[in-house]
Homo-oligomer: 400 residues x 2
Amino acid sequence: MTQSMDQEMDAPQKNGNGKARPYFELLAVEPGKTAATGVVGRARAGVLHTAHGPLPTPIYAPVGTQATVKALTPRQLREVGAHLVLANTYHLYLRPGDARIAALGGLHRFMAWDGPMLTDSGGFQVFSLAGGERGKSLRTIDDDGVTFRSHIDGSTHRFTPERVVEIQENLGADIAMVLDECAPPDDYEYNVKALGRTHAWAERCKAAHSREDQVLFGIVQGGVFPDLRARSASFLFDLDFPGYAIGGLSVGESKAQMLSTLDVTTPLLPEDRPRYLMGVGTPVDLVEGVARGIDIFDCVLPTRVARNGAALTRVERLNMRNARFADDPAPIDEACGCYACQHFSRAYIRHLIVAKEILAATLLSIHNLYTMLTLIREIREAILAGQFWEYRAAFWEARK
Amino acid sequence: MTQSMDQEMDAPQKNGNGKARPYFELLAVEPGKTAATGVVGRARAGVLHTAHGPLPTPIYAPVGTQATVKALTPRQLREVGAHLVLANTYHLYLRPGDARIAALGGLHRFMAWDGPMLTDSGGFQVFSLAGGERGKSLRTIDDDGVTFRSHIDGSTHRFTPERVVEIQENLGADIAMVLDECAPPDDYEYNVKALGRTHAWAERCKAAHSREDQVLFGIVQGGVFPDLRARSASFLFDLDFPGYAIGGLSVGESKAQMLSTLDVTTPLLPEDRPRYLMGVGTPVDLVEGVARGIDIFDCVLPTRVARNGAALTRVERLNMRNARFADDPAPIDEACGCYACQHFSRAYIRHLIVAKEILAATLLSIHNLYTMLTLIREIREAILAGQFWEYRAAFWEARK
């Protein structure tokens, strides 16, 4: 079922700094919608060429909110198979500051990650600041931007589309995001209003963006409403972004709503541009997101649950604090090749958690990221081999 | 000034398990007490052969209290140059339990450290439990042993010399320690009384010890009193231990008192046995301890201060949280070859500390241990080259 893409690829263009302008190369597509798959989707494998090397897609990005993927060194990140790291603009703007990072040589150098990086726009964090002390909202939105108070010291700040682009150019990630408004997924009126701002801000971000070694992605919004998602995809398609994110999902809607939203959204996006499903997900999300044409994922899940003592496998989430592991000499996952599973027992991991040792977070983060990154690598290999739908069927079979 | 030791060395003996019985090989000694050095001491370089490989001496052991050197993987420990790791019997006895660790294959396997290890007797921690809730003591001592309450759950436990040897044989470190009583360093009467117990317990520990792939060290006590130290060293000399620790120092006495205590103690210990200065020290302690004939050191300092945001160099301790580092692109120490200094700026380390990121503890632990372990390696190389006293002079010159 593999279908080699025969389309014309842009040759890498050099910008003023001698760096290649990022561009996307699609290597294989497996169409869905057969009796066997039942999915209206296309699983894709490609390469996003960046100033910091080629990024194989589909890909899963560990999250380094404050310029560090929590509890791991960049060397450990490499060892678990990471290619792309996401950092949060909101957090880095507040601390240590984007101008400071720029003066120190940019985000890559600051955190010693020399591979591809992605920054979000900060919008999601700002719009999450709804509840402040004594019920006072920590942010107010207008058509020009959003004013908010820092969660660190309560100081007042303002993000506009232009400012958010400037911050991300200061940070210097390979992939940047437009400012969008994140609305509650099931409030139609709110989503209509928010979509107007999101689209106007997308135009302003695109106009403001100037850094040629960085690509700026548009973000499709519209909650769980197919007509709004279609309107958003169509509007952004016309703006001709080099890549498209799908935002406003995995924020409280059901899994079925998320997948059906993807079903109606990705077919409306240009085939030759990378698609990024923001803030998602789990092993199931990866398999089903790829089945619907997603190329890029990110999620804090593997590292966040690690710090709470949970280990991910493809089929389950294990609470490693559980007393049943106290004498268990087996690794977390017999089938796993990660450093943690090659060297340590469940009994040891459980001991570290109970004893409140930092190494628990490190070893579980290594294991959880390795699990996710191995899954996405295998998914990519399956697509390149024309075996994705078989791979997906086997994935679901193993969970029964 | 190098003096090759011409003494007869025991060939490695095999025990019932086919493992070599640990033995100490002295390679070079540099006598002191010249007009240039002024120190009554002998700097020694050797090898302690263990069932887990040769241990070059002098050596500095990072502390892995709860079967982990905090914030580091065993791989990172290797990378910073660690050869020997210390674990605490008191903590591991309470959690996860020595029998459990034995059932899981012993401490080396449990924590995935395949190099030489050392366990203390647990006595120091128990005797540190003086103050409990509402002034009730958490431990009571009698001539047969010590009864104490767990700092974790308040449960009651008892250590006797025989029990402490059994626990350490269960853990299976290459070097174990006798149970001793740690007295306040400047209370003569207390030290006289404690020394009686310490010596009786040393005899009982030696009689109880049976594991042939493990050496049991005696511990010299006696506070800051030369006559008591001499009495203790003489008594333990006669018991013919394969190695000797010097305990009860770095517990509140002055640096001058500590060094003068070493001056009177190490000359009374057998020349052909390794000497271990427990719980010490700083860069100065290493240089001056080696000058007085010490072979083994351990200290929590490098990793503990790391978690408080401090970086060690040979000449100073830097508070990396200080705002003056916020824009500093230089590494912690320009002269340092550690992973942290090769990849990260002071500005980044400071950011991680302020942002409460785990990676701060990891990178500073890497740096601090690398600093101490590089120092002790250079000291050893200087002794082997017959240059120790010159090295010591240069060390002090750099601190001026």
